[in-house]
Symmetry: C2
Subunit: 210 residues, 2 copies
DNA sequence: CAACCGATTGAACATCTGGTTAGCATGCTG
DNA sequence: CAGCATGCTAACCAGATGTTCAATCGGTTG
């Protein structure tokens, strides 16, 4: 057995982490036993604890790894949306894990979310000044919603795949297809006139008068 | 102890179901023990199984109850977007349970999702004909994405609340605030020119040439 | 009153959980 | 070579989990 921990990323430790990433991403940390991770990595259950101290430690290691992958991937493309773009480009297990961590309330995932919202807000503000983005009455909320909307396909993966009649939502075909519609909806909008806006005004007025 | 099972909705059975709804919605069925449900309902663990057969049976009962509540707004059929509205306006425990069931892959929640996507697709098609909705190159995908986007605040509740600096995302103030931005984004769009569309074209061409 | 039936309990069971420990093997270092 | 740290395993532990079961209680019915 070789002993190049820092360079070789295929050590038992890395294999355990990758297996955990995969399984945790599918069922959440609470739905996966240490033994299942060990089996998937081809090691004994004891080794998992030996390397990561505890199951919680393994979870933190997965969090850290995912954050590092997303932060570190292709920082040049698409200037300021790089975080988001990197996330969408990241390998499927990492993406699934991130989505799961977000709904499970992991602290690292939450911090990543906040960071991306901030970056997106700045990016959209710049776009507004340069004229390629619409101005917004509430830039903060818009940035948060924009990020949430791009995250939605990650989280609702299985439901969207069913609605679109595709097997793998994150295969290239399906990704191209739905991202096209996303761009279309974000460019032309969905509603063609202001009646949704006036409907909202009516709701607000009614609620305020109560 | 009274014995009016069918009429009184505060029987032990109903209390167990409500407690389970609450706890399952917070941590998912796998994160909650039968004993915890029993304790929250003020009964013994055995009674939970006596009434629902198994934990899985209890989960199914929760699913059925939530679906019934959502459908109950419009007893016969869901019309247009009323299902979506009912989901977003439902009481907090129901809302949380639904969000959790969607990401956990419950069959009933998935069926509800599909149904709402279909209704939304029909609604948007009608709008396209009547002129108040934009035409779409891919109506099926648009309907699915539209539903996903409106569901996103449900699922990412805590993260959005943090980004918007509000305590309760589904309180009236916050709801009015972010729904305003949703309407704004869906009416005016986010991008002011076609460069996102052309960027997508470039990506597609590049990937196809590979 | 007696028989019965559903609601309800508490204890028990087998299983699985995360975690600990002792020990083995191997490779580095003196 | 001896000494030692380290990767790794197997056995084991205490606790929690879902489920089962015998027994009790209370109201209804014969």
């Amino acid at each position: 057995m070789l002993n190049m921990r820092s360079t070789d990323d295929l050590t038992a430790r890395a294999r355990i982490r990758d297996a955990a990433l995969d399984l945790f991403g599918a069922d959440g940390p609470d739905g996966v036993s240490v033994r299942a991770v060990a089996a998937a990595a081809g090691v004994s259950p004891g080794l998992v604890l030996h390397h990561f101290g505890s199951k919680e430690g393994l979870r933190r290691a997965c969090d850290a790894h995912v954050v590092a992958v997303i932060r570190g991937a292709d920082p040049d493309v698409l200037s300021d949306t790089s975080g988001l773009a990197a996330m969408l480009e990241a390998a499927a297990p990492v993406r699934r894990y991130l989505a799961r961590a977000l709904v499970d309330g992991s602290a690292d995932a939450a911090a990543l979310f906040d960071e991306i919202v901030t970056l997106t807000g700045a990016w959209l503000a710049e776009g507004t000044l340069e004229g390629w983005a619409q101005p917004s009455e509430d830039p903060q909320a818009r940035a948060a919603l924009y990020v949430s909307w791009l995250l939605a396909p990650l989280i609702l993966e299985s439901h969207l795949a069913r609605a679109l009649d595709v097997d793998d939502l994150h295969g290239m075909d399906a990704t191209l297809r739905y991202s096209r519609v996303v761009v279309e909806m974000l460019t032309r909008g969905v509603f063609a006139d202001a009646r949704a806006l006036t409907a909202w005004d009516a709701v607000k007025k009614e609620r305020e008068s109560r």
